[in-house]
Amino acid sequence: MSNEIMSELRKDYIYNLAIKEERVDGRGFKDYRELVIETGIINKAEGSARVRLGKTEVVVGVKIQPGTPFPDTPDKGVIITSLELIPLASPEFESGPPREDAIELARVVDRGIRESGSIDLSKLCVEAGEKVWMVFIDVHVLDDGGNIMDAASLGAIAALLTAKLPAERYGLGTDADLPMRDVPVAVTAALIGGAIVLDPSIEEEAVAGTRMTVISNQEGALSGMQKSGTAPLTTEQMNYIVDIAIEKAKEIREKFLEI
């Protein structure tokens, strides 16, 4: 698809397939597209990962440098997550400062990392009130084939898991791994008609009434959630999504992200 409007005929086709429990690319409703995660691809970054999820591709770089803590958390490190939907990645993305879609994506990625306590921020304090480690997570989307959310979240956690504190460079001791405690995994479901499918492709996103992202941690508890889109979900649908998302997150974590 390029930046052309999707024909009604195509939309109907996708809906009708969903009714028959089928998807355009032949996947089952709970199947992810092929997932490839590579780490350590950017040597200027303290941690990095490239994620290919079907036709979606993102590169995540983690930069770590000393800075001043926030006044309300003087003894904790800082996480700052940014994501840009650059026009290289899709004919629909425009130049300029991030708009609400990009900001939402960045905030949800951030939420999973932060709320799962995946980074032990108290260990990122150099001198309380004065100097802490700042962890910048920058997500660069290169190809939008749908479900940027999951690709970005996976990229962020994979990059963090391989990141090093560049202490020597700043005369702050010896380099060390980032103090990681948990591995949150985001799983996104899309509602197409009455059907719930995981890892929506770009075409499925275009017809989906709503998307639901569920981020769960190693224990299988929830760390963050986001409903994005206008179609309402029933309680039954919501509960079902949570169940399959946690199950799927476990599967992905075991296969791709064991420390």
Binding site: M1, E4, I5, M6, L9
Partner: protein, 273 residues
Amino acid sequence: MDKKIVIPGDFLSDDVKNATDGTYVEDGKVFAAVYGLASLKNQIRVVPLSGKYIPKRGDMVIATVSEVTFSNWITDIRSPYDGLLHISEFPKRIENDDMAKHINVGESVMALIKDVDPIMKVELTLNDRRLRRIDEGRIIQVAPSKVPRLIGRNGSMITLLKNNTNCNVFVGQNGRIWITGKERDMDFAEKIIFKIENESHVSGLTERINRFIKEEKGESAREPEYEQEPEIEEEDIETDKTVEKTEDIPVEEETQEEDAPEGILDELLGDGK
């Protein structure tokens, strides 16, 4: 093979007189202007391996309505330029207020490019019995640069496709393809079309596709068959019920091209030859 892969700037020939599409002439020499397959016999040209659809007068395309204005349907034809369908080009007289009732945003039509002016204003028409709104079946997309291979010499590929799938298949020059038939047959047709698209530059394509069809048929014969007739909603568009019966469209035939022979339209529309 007399074709070779070239990139922009490659020297092709000194025969300036026969330089055609995909080439340019400088200092009395012919060079490739695009990345593609060069053919040097008779006419010198380069068929690009990729690129956008650039509308030409007389092309049949599938257009999807993006906006309905006071007297025009503005359509997307997968090109840098919108296709304009004026109310007067609708096969019968309708009121301006009713335009959206006849063709609404998101709906597609088989249309003919009536005219393209020097600044690329593209005018479409539905004023031909074979042209119509598309209400059933599927529309799929291939790279516009692959359309000639999909049609084949004298429409041979498309005939092969139709005969083996029981589907009716119309290939728009803009790389949109309309398929009608039974669900399972359309699945099969789609599969073959994407196979052709992916292998369009491999030699012996027709033979490969033939073999592919045979293999696939051997397998799929065991699968259960969906019996699902597409709903045909007959609108008041003045057209034949199907696109089977056709007459020549009164447009200028293009200069004959190797891969896009004359009579394509008839082949495409399945006049049952």
